[in-house]
Subunit: 377 residues, 4 copies
């Protein structure tokens, strides 16, 4: 039985890399490197096979998926020969990408979005569809009283004005269409009491937030190392240089502050105290899709002896994110089938800013994920 | 009840830093930073208190402990004011450091060593003594048939010639004296079948090898990170620049090769394959006691996209090792009291080259250690 | 004949390190490491000897110089034994540090400052005095019409209100007292047409701005390297982590922007184009007086092949600046004696933001400096 | 008038990148990035134009130039589209690459080599030919008495056995054919008194040794920086990780030692003393043609304060070397035409191990080169 993956932001770098990769896996042209669900501790027949995933989505961008894939190939993100070979498969997926609807009210917009998803499900006779948000990061929305209760929200959406930010409206539409929803971005997504109420009402699960692709991944193993060794982290400072799509957005002071706070959160929660230092994000167009992050950690050892470490991470965010998008789609689909609804806190391994009050150690998160995968059967 | 810590190499950097630190802890002049047994998950009333540890040892060096402590203070390894304040305590410990005996046969030497330890135990009415080897790294010894059986070993030791390398003779002496033995170095120590037989016969536990102080500590969290994320490590290369005591020894081609192999072992066992690359050790006198390690890791992500990370670790080996020596003495003493004998494989967290067939992930090793500590009561 | 060095900000880190160093040099307790005027190409009998320098200055801080020197010793900036040994010399200098005067008008304040300098000159029968500004960096001042002409400036200073920022008032006082003036900071100093007029009228030379102590020093050799090799620098981004005195000031967004622009200027002027990227300054208290700067440079080689380099600089700003302060005092005194007045553009080697339209290559600047030194005799 | 460039090792990475680049420049498909002779200070109408260079050479490899170019494109060294577009030009050059002759004596081999070069010159009516050695690095040859005098050398070459290593035999053949010779490698080349005699006899110039492509380029600007600032370099240690053609050869202990010594020479000669430390070369196949060099420099500032810097250089050796090969061919041709014979010490800018007793500062070498270029007209 086939499973749909409906990508919000389907013509962006992460989405297109996911789609190219899934097509390459189906065609046996690549290995599932970077796919966590292929780790021996997680592999499970309950997860839909790569070959059984069908892709569609919404996007406001009109540049076609093939063109975007060619641009990614030129930037070294995906191999050019794959894009050539998979040309017709990619063009076919592009036909299932719909412009983002604009209704007179947000209620109408959400209904049109849900209808696009439902059409997709029926067209390919899909057992179920998982909606994954991989659109650009939004600014934090203003609070609104209708965010707290589902009935108030329904009423407000029927009126004029923007009650929900786009990511939350996407979650609303997904739940309305009976789909699981995963937010791979730092945006609001399903993180509102009214949306939680809707997810539970519709019996669908949701997951998020903010895929752990680079520097935070390292923090999630290094901070526990310092904690386990009882070394005292005095400062942890860093800078992220990035030039791709999200770079310009994230380097805005406001987004920067939000993102930076989320990046330092793991330290406080792992170490039990907040070291000095910040993480800056800087937009450098020439860097392109390969992000360079540098961190300096100063720490005290026995008798207060000062020591330090630094690291440089030079990774391709889209290539790190794409296999996780496939993992999350497979896991959310299996969880939905297994009858789970509400927040999937067991997916914390994947996220910088996970749902729920969870352990921030990567090893602990992996153990939770492995156990969760075992319960899906 | 007091516990003795008998250090083989008692006037070396690691030993002296341990002794200064224990005295400072006893006097309330410092916090137990870097002491793993102070982590909330490990803290236990079954472990001897820092204030209940008494120090003595063997060394071929004749420069006094106070002088060595002053040299470490000048090098920034320990605070100068602590050495001043603790002057008389350190001088008192120095009185309990004995020159390494030289008998006509190794059997005689071992008997004299055991007798020194026994004298120490009685002099301070110690409940038990743990012997910890922190002497310089030896070259790998030639194999000898007497290494395999205790009766053959006893016979060979009574004859002329060197049957056991110094670290193994120290283990023999420790076991003979009914003491637990821990090898903090890469040397042979208790790793011979005949010595295992002796430890079991005498009902004493032993642990080792090669304290995980710097680069390997990082490997023990970074390699599992790549494994958990199913990323493909293509190469892992590094260089260690060090100038302190062990530097000249370790940079010898033979020792270098042995050490380097031990450093790469964790990769093979964690990843399931051996990436390209080596770890070099280089002696640079100006670096002093602060070791600088640099590693470059190249890895492939989704669709084979090449990525890389590098890190620099600038740590003081003695200050990283010393609290672990205290941890190991406390844990080995508690294990001995709890009736354990033979290899303490649960101590893998502390070692580059741990005893037994154990998981190399730091997080997994920590969990094993925490459980072990819980069973000691 | 003795020469005075009057330091504005005489109890700050740079000033105190300079004073400790000069006293140590006089006493033969150290070598002139980091003193450029000791380079064989620059050494000259026309420069006042270290032993002939007398120190005094202004400061608003009331914590004594000895106490500050002890704090610097604790931070590892100067050796503790030197501070102990030189205790009485340092206390004697502290007696020549005056509180910054506060007159009813800026004219009165400047007159009181000049009078303090003149008293100092007479008290020690100094041949001449060089005033060096090493006070904290100021915010950029608002433009004022009186900045452009000396007569207008004199009139405005006699009225109420602050016409000149503190650094410019110090230059005004120095010139009034017939002294050469050097600004080691990014502040305004003598960089106003009216002050230039005054310097020429009084026949005194001046120099500046912003001592080249760390990252910009590297830029001044690396940018010419890329230029000479005709490689195309695509981006140059960096971050400076610093925790000492100036850290908090410089990390303010406004000061940060000004400083960052000055740091990138060298690139534009050396390469002939402005690469992508910025330099950020970040205040991290735990870093203390040792600044860590990290830079990433991406560049294109033949056929556009993308390459990259990164560097980390871990330097002590005060220890890098102090010998330059001595160099500048010696050079400015000799220039003054040689009859030079107005801007000393030949001192560009020392500055991030040098006076005049000069070559930014360190090697070119060194050649100019060596020639200049040769002309002083 | 056209100029020939005869490459010894014409199917190696450096040679092929040079040939692709020259063809791309001729076709107007690229800019001369990395070509030093395009720097405004060096540009000269006396240098043969890129469009006037004709390529040929010797190689023992039989894999065609086009295939090698495609492999370089796959490795990211040259753009794939260029190789496609220039396919026929590259194939035409391949027709001018001759197998390395093997005569019964070295005299016969050299004569056959000279004859190949002469044929090439006549076939394309070239004004002159420059021979450039870009073959793999050789082991240092055993000394031979015939190396010292030309008549003895001629006699010895006519006998059996290998008197000259391949690079020196290539120089002998070049001089015999009346061609200028440049050695871009660390091999012997023309560095024998007998060969110098021959060059002078034939009135041809020669240059070398060992193109300054990466880490040594940085040393040539950083070491002078420390010297100019009178900072005391305490240690300079490094490691070069490389996986391309020369990697396996250079990582051999003997070659490694030779190369490492050459890399440290610049320090001694620039600083006036030899700091601690070594440079290691390590072969890591996965690194491919992009070399990663990491260096740690520890230095003392004022009052002995210890500081440090480190850098990572991630460059493509072939793409860095190729434009220099074109530069050297142009400069050697112009020098030959201008009547120069014997060693071209003015080319030190290009080499790690330059001919003659020259300044090792890159800026000084650039000034010498610019002056030299000016004299060619």
């Amino acid at each position: 039985m086939r499973t749909g993956v409906w990508l919000v932001g389907a013509r962006g770098s992460v989405a297109v890399t996911s789609i190219v990769g899934a097509a390459a896996l189906r065609a046996g042209l690549t290995e599932p490197i970077g796919c966590v669900t292929e780790h021996p501790a997680l592999r499970s027949a309950r997860l839909p096979a790569y070959g059984d995933l069908a892709f569609g989505g919404h996007d406001i961008a009109t540049t076609g998926l093939v063109k975007k894939a060619e641009a990614l190939a030129a930037a070294g993100v995906v191999p050019a020969r794959l894009v050539d070979t998979l040309h017709s498969e990619l063009a076919a997926v592009d036909d299932d990408i719909r412009p983002l609807p604009h209704g007179a009210t947000q209620a109408e917009t959400a209904a049109a979005m849900a209808s696009d998803i439902e059409d997709f499900r029926q067209r390919y006779r899909l057992e179920r569809v998982v909606v994954v948000n991989v659109a650009s990061t939004e600014a934090a929305p203003a609070p609104h009283p209708a965010h707290d209760r589902l009935d108030a929200l329904r009423e407000a959406l029927a009126g004029p004005g923007a009650v929900l930010p786009p990511s939350a409206l996407a979650a609303y539409a997904a739940f309305t269409a009976g789909c699981a929803f995963v937010d791979f971005t730092p945006s609001t997504g399903a993180r509102l009491p009214a949306l939680h109420e809707l997810a539970v009402e519709r019996g669908v699960p949701y997951g998020g937030h903010d895929g752990k692709t680079g520097e935070t991944l390292l923090k999630a193993v290094l901070a526990p190392m310092f904690a386990m060794r009882n070394l005292q982290v005095r400062s942890w400072s860093g800078i992220n240089l990035l030039g791709g799509g999200d770079g310009a957005t994230l380097a805005e002071p406001a987004a920067n502050a939000a993102k930076s706070a989320s990046k330092q959160r793991v330290l406080k929660e792992t170490l039990g105290y907040q070291p000095d230092g910040h993480t800056r994000i800087e937009f450098v167009p020439d860097i392109g899709d390969f992000k360079t992050a540098w961190d300096l950690i100063t720490f005290a050892g026995f008798l207060g002896t000062p020591m330090r470490m630094e690291f440089t991470w030079h990774g391709c965010d889209s290539a790190l994110a794409a296999p996780l998008v496939l993992d999350l789609a497979r896991l959310a689909a299996a969880a939905h089938r297994a009858g789970r609804s509400g927040p999937l806190t067991e997916l914390a391994f994947f996220f910088k800013d996970p749902l729920g009050d969870v352990d921030h150690s990567l090893a602990a998160q992996f153990a939770v994920l492995a156990e969760f995968t075992g319960t899906l059967g």
